[in-house]
Every structure is written in C-alpha cells, then in structure tokens.
Point group: C2
Chain length 454, copies 2
C-alpha cells in the first residue's frame, strides 16, 4: 500500500478506457454473474491467464496485428540490465493466451479440456462507438488432442443461447454457418480461390449484393458464378430448410455435403434445445483463415449495425507444439460492447447504487453499538445493510438511503413497546420488526436490473 496522496492534476477520463459508476457496475456484475453461473452449469471450469504474453506470441503469424498490441516495459528498465526491446505485451484476446496455457499445461490437464475465461483484454485501436481499448470478454472453448468430436460445435452455442435467454436484453440470434458449405459450393461451381471469394462475400452486409457481384466478377468469376455465390449467401432459415434451398441451386461437391450435414446437426440440436435461438445463415464467413468448420456470429435485434456481440468457431489447430495438434471450438461474448450499448442508450439501469437493502438508523452516537448489533443480526441472515453515518435527524437519514436507492430504513427502539421498526421508504409503510426474524421481499434483497424499452 505504498500510496502517496494523489495530486490534483489530470483527472480526465482516458479515451477508450471506460469506467462505470456504482449503479452501472451493478448491471455489469449481474451480467457477469449470469454468464459465469451458466458456464458453470454446463461444467466449464474457470481459468485466468496473466495479462501479458511474449510480444512474438501476440504478433503471431504477422499481418498488422502489431497495430493493436500494447507493449509493457518496466519504467526503471533503462537503468538496469532489463533494458532493450519490448518483450511483453498485453493480451488482445483470450484465445492466444488460452492456446499457450494449453501447451504449457498439457501434461496437467485432462482432455477433452473445457474452460471459461472472463477477463479484460486490451487493443490499441482508435476508440469509437462500441469499440474500446480496454474491455471484458467472456469465452468458452473445448479443446482436445488430435481430434475433437463434432457434437461440441452444436453444444457450445447453446450455452450462449441460454445466457441470452436469461439476460434482460432483446432478442439475440446466433447465426451459424459451416465453412465447408461455401468451400464445397465454390469448388462445385469451379471457383478455386476459396479464401478470396469468402472475403468478398463477407462484405455483403456492408456494400450490398450489387457491389459484391461486381467485385466477384473483377476477381475472375463469371457472372453466373457470382450470382450463384450470392444466391448461396442469401439463404437463411431457422430450421433445416436451408439444405433443400442449397440443393435447389444444383451444385454438387463432397465437401458441400459434409458441410450441410454438419450444419444440420448444429441447427437440429438448437431446435431441440433452444428453439428460435439459432439460425442457419450461409453468408456468415468470419473472414479468417483458421476457422475450419462451424462459425458463429450473433446480432441483437434492432441493433444489427453494431455487428456481432458473440462470435467464434471451430479451429483444426487451436494450438500445436509441433508434435501434437489441439483442435478446438470456442465462442466469445463481447461483454463490454454489449453493456456499452445497453447502458449507453439507457436501456438498462439498477434499482439502487449499492448492495445495501437496509440502512440502520442511529438515534445518537451512544446508540451506535445497538445499531451495529442490529446490522450484524441482519447480515448473519444474508440481508445486506449499512449503519447510518451520523445520528442526524431521521429525515436526513432517510434521504441518505433515498439518494442510494436503499429501500428500507430500520429505526432501533421506535416501536410503542420499545422494539424496533422498519420503514419501506418507497411506500412510507413502517412496521414493527425484529432483526433476528425480519426478511425483505425476495425482489428487494439484491438490486434489481430494470429494463427500459429503447
């Protein structure tokens, strides 16, 4: 705790590093609690990885990932032997650290290994609406040695669907595709550049079908091939109807068959266990080389322009140490992005700015021990409470509670028989109460998360 008192200078926010007021943080905690509880109900244990990774691991196979990485150096390093290049950086997602953790601990983990991870990540991007430099992600992944059973690709989005059903938000739709469908389809119509074609089709939402048609033709497709690509990407069904619609396009390829079967398994499992939560959406590409099977994106109804709040997919090689390859499937909720939208637009609030359900009033400073005993009795039965800061007039003590949204004020010795009374300051109702038996209504025990229609 070597903490000097801070000086007055510089108390402005840092762009891209959001912080919440206590009532907003209560909403965030509620979300994180629902997420954690659901992950654990599905048998995912938690891990946390250190905030830093070696820079060369973060930069991975190159590209312009380095634009996003924050380097970390000891300020005193230039004075001693640690001086030199930047060795460590803050992680920019939870997948790179997880892959490293799996390799590092492979001998001490049981496979197939599943885990959840809820942590902050950092990216040095230009901040903009819904994009932060420090933000929280909640990931689940399953990883196995050599081969991974395909049923995990169907199970993992169900965990997220369960979370979205529990949260006080609008309708979240998890859009699922399988990379083998476009791959097989493109090959079936004579297109060889799969990645290039996927990358163009991925722009559909941004630029529209006409531009994509033109871009595909520029890239060497015939106009008929381009039309077929667009026809495939337009298919979206919340049942198994997508199979027939693809078949109607008259394209044949064994990889296409594999993809259709795999996607059918995922959608069928979704229909059985979370009706309406998953749709087959054949334009979803996730634009990335390393996804090799199922891919997921998730939109919030009415806020499609915000993009995906929950994405992931299957990798054939989540990690590899050269001898052993670890295939995996994972999905990640962008918690800060989702809360940034919901809190930023005032769609959610907490009923109070403190966990305290009761303020125990203080009659005079000599009475504080009695008020403390009452608070201890309430807490021992799980009722969060605090004791008033000062033996002020009762009106002032009630206003202290009001300002924080605390619903009850407890008055020691206020009853006609000298017993205590408790007042619901919302209704004004005041009744006799004993600290060893009184219990608030269940909905008042914790702050409530209130949804406003936006």
């Amino acid at each position: 705790m070597n903490t000097p008192a801070p000086r007055a200078a510089r108390v402005t926010p840092i762009s891209g590093f959001p912080e919440y007021l206590p009532a907003e943080r209560i909403v965030e905690q509620y979300f994180l609690d629902v997420i954690r509880e659901t992950f654990e109900l599905h048998g995912y244990p938690s891990i946390e990885t250190r905030a830093v990774e070696p820079v060369d691991r973060l930069l991975g196979k190159g590209g312009d990932a380095d634009k996003e990485v924050y380097g970390v150096t000891r300020l005193a390093a230039d004075e001693d032997e640690d001086a030199g290049e930047v060795e460590f950086g803050l992680h920019f997602d939870l997948t790179v650290p997880f892959a490293r953790y799996v390799l590092e601990n492979a001998g001490r983990l049981s496979f197939p290994f599943r885990r959840y991870q809820i942590q902050k990540v950092w990216r040095g991007e230009r901040p903009q609406e819904g994009r932060y430099r420090e933000f929280t992600q909640a990931d689940i992944d399953v990883v196995d040695v050599g081969e991974l059973s395909s049923h995990y690709e169907a199970e993992i989005p169900l965990v997220m669907a369960e979370i979205f059903a529990k949260l006080p938000i609008g309708r979240m739709t998890i859009q699922v595709n399988n990379r083998k469908i476009p791959e097989g389809f493109y090959r079936g119509i004579g297109i060889d550049d799969i990645t290039g074609t996927l990358r163009i089709v991925d722009k559909l939402d941004k630029v529209g079908p006409e531009k994509v048609q033109g871009m595909l033709e520029e890239a060497g497709c015939t106009s008929e091939q381009a039309e077929q690509c667009l026809a495939l990407a337009a298919i979206r069904t919340d049942d198994l109807g997508f199979v027939e619609q693809v078949r109607a396009l008259g394209v044949e390829h064994p990889t296409l068959d594999e993809g259709l079967e795999a996607l059918s398994r995922v959608i069928r499992t979704g229909m059985e266990n979370a009706p309406g939560a998953l749709v087959a959406d054949l334009k979803i590409a996730r634009g990335l080389d390393y996804y090799t099977g199922t891919v997921y994106e998730t939109q919030l109804e009415g806020y499609e322009s915000w993009g995906s709040f929950c994405s992931g997919g299957r990798y054939d090689a989540l990690a590899s140490d050269g001898r052993t390859t670890y295939p995996g499937v994972g999905i990640s909720i962008g918690v800060s992005r989702l809360l940034g939208l919901l809190l930023g637009k005032g769609l959610l609030t907490a009923s109070r700015s403190t966990p305290a359900c009761v303020l125990v009033a203080v009659n005079d400073e000599e009475g504080r021990p009695e008020s403390t005993r009452i608070a201890t009795a309430l807490r021992s039965r799980g009722v969060p409470c605090e004791v008033a800061p000062k033996p002020a007039k009762f009106g002032k003590q009630i206003r202290y509670a009001e300002r924080r949204g605390i619903p009850y004020v407890w008055f020691p010795g206020a009853g006609e028989d000298g017993g205590d009374q408790v007042k619901d300051i919302r209704s004004g109702e005041q009744v006799d109460a004993r600290p060893d038996v009184w219990q608030p209504p269940a909905e008042d025990l914790r702050p409530q998360i209130l949804r406003r229609e936006g």
Copy 2:
C-alpha cells in the same frame, strides 16, 4: 476474434506472473466469492477502475516508486503521431486509482462514499516468495468530504475479520494501532522527530529491541527515551488493558490521550462484534507519512514471517483537488499472497477440478440427444453437469469423471424399468433417479474446499 494459431515457441511461465490450474482457480474463486459477498453484506458497492493511469499520477510525490511501475505503449506508436514518452502505466495498487476516480466522479457520487474493488495490480519488483509482479488485491475504503466520522475506523476491520472467520484458513489477527499514540508519547518525552523515530521502531520485528535501542540513541535519543519508545512498542493487548499499560509509563500529552481514546473505540467495537479478531499492538507503524490515525496489519498464525496479508489505515487526505479534501480509511487483502502461501504449501485443495457435479453418460451417438435432455433438466434445477464426450465403455466414461473429481455419473435407461440410474462413483452406490427430481446432497453441488493441516 483475430486470433492466429500460436506457434510452438515460448510456452514457459513468466516469473512473477503466476497462473492457476483449474482446481487451484476453484479455491481462488471461493476466496473471492466470500470476500465479495461479505463486502456486499456490509453495503459496499463494487467499482472497477481501468488498468492504466497517467504515469505522473502513478509516480506521485516522487521517491523511488518508479522502480515498480510498468509503462504501457502502443507497439505501433513509433509509426504515428502517438510516439514519444511513456504516458500511461499499469496501476500498482487500487488506492491511487480510487482516489483519482473519486476526484473524477465527485459530482456523481454520494458521500460518505464506500466501495470495494477486487482487481489485479502490477509491480515490476524482483519476484520472490509471496511477492508477485501481477497479483490480486481486494480493497474497501470509505471516503467523505472534508471530515470523516471516526466510527469507520472501527467498522472497517470488522469486515475483514468476518471474511477471515469464514475462510478455511488459520487464525488471522488484525493488529491495530493509532499513529497519535506514538506521536503524542514521543512528544511527551521530548522527541521531536516523530517520523524518523517511527521508522526506526518499525524495524523492531526485523532487527530486535537491542539494535533499535542503539539506532534510536544514534538518532539522538537519550537511553531513557529509547527505553520508553521500546516499552511503548512492546504493549499488545486483546482488550482495553493497553490504556493502563501506557499510563503506567507515566507520559502525558493531549495527542496521546486522543490516540488512546480512538484506539479504545476500535478495540471496544472489535470486542463486541468480533471477539479475539483484533488486538491493540502499539508497535504497528506502517512506516508511511500519509496515515494519520488508525493503522492495521494482519498476520496469519504460524506464518508471521510472511508479514502482513491485510493492511491499511486512515488518511486525512485520500484525495484532494486543491479546494476540497477527501479523508478516508481503507484496508486491503493481498489475495494472491494469501493464496500463494496456502496453495503453495498444499494447505488447501478443491474436491474437483470442474464445477460439474454430474457426468451424463452417452450410450451411443444416437442417444446423445436424450443425454443432452437429461443434462438440460438437471441444469434447470441448478445442478452443474456435462455430457460425456464419447459413447465409450461405461468404465471409460466413469474414469473421465474420476479424473476430474466429478462425483456422480448418470446412466440413461439403465434401470430395470428402463428409467435412468445415477451412480456415486466414490461409494459405487447406483440408484434409480429421475432428472426432474434428483438432487445431489448439498455438499456435492459445488466443489468443496478442503483444508489440510500443514
């Protein structure tokens, strides 16, 4: 998530950045849950602050704090306009960010303002036993505008005592002193250099009374003054007896009277609400200028050489914006240090490495939907479970559960009437069960934290 598959290189741990295996993390989560729940029962809301602060705020009033700070820079910064000196650093405690948060949000907070904060902090120190470069702290503070009522100094250690009583650890003793006692006492015997004297007396545990006597005399004390300082520092009582023992030394000073009265209030409140948890220990100094009243340190019985696991005190100026001063009192648990000791010495383990209480077996791949329905039914009633990865022989499925410590395996359709059965794989007992009514014993629902005598 733009995540390239990691390469094989560099999967060694980074010194000072500990990571837990899943079973260890379950112990950590248990500790963090107890801490959070207790903070909330006492009416503390949570805040989280960003990981970074401006470097000039972290370095504060100088000294060699800069040795400890990790600077943060965008790796791409030298390619664009952000280039130059290191502007931000990772916070090294939670008090500096909290003080800044109070100043930044003063107009939007209600005072007296209390909060808890459980976050990672980073220090670029040389790692050693019980000292990390990345570690978790759990802090509570109460801060007010202009003046802070003294009763908070008595209440805040009670929150920590309640936490220690709930955790499966040995006896934690919170040692309390009040800076006004040595200050008044030193002035009363004619010593003027209060800070210098405190700093020497603070070495008592390290170097012993004889060396301290010598150092005090070197610093200008008479041998009688030095003896008096040592006599004061030797006083330690778990009741109000310390007052009489100080009085018996025959020193008079109004600041001493104030300090004795203030410490009596804290100890009396402790005796009433948490008997045995607090002791008056007049050698506690916390060696720091900015504590102005009560100070706390906490030792774990049998591990006194590890130093304090929970420390804090009262500041007259937690924060100040030049016009308004915010006095505060706070205390902080070094969660990682405590767990580093308990897990490192094998004193605590979790009963399993997963939250799953039940593994639902799979008879064959066609039976997976039925196993999934059973799992969904169990989860809907709060029973964490997972479905077996493969329809292997039952012995193999049981071993899958055993390796993770999952206590129950559910066999669909194994009963004589075609109903399900569940097996406690520890006892081997297998009974008929229905997924819509079966409930494990309460102690099996969550992983248990097991204490081994060390």
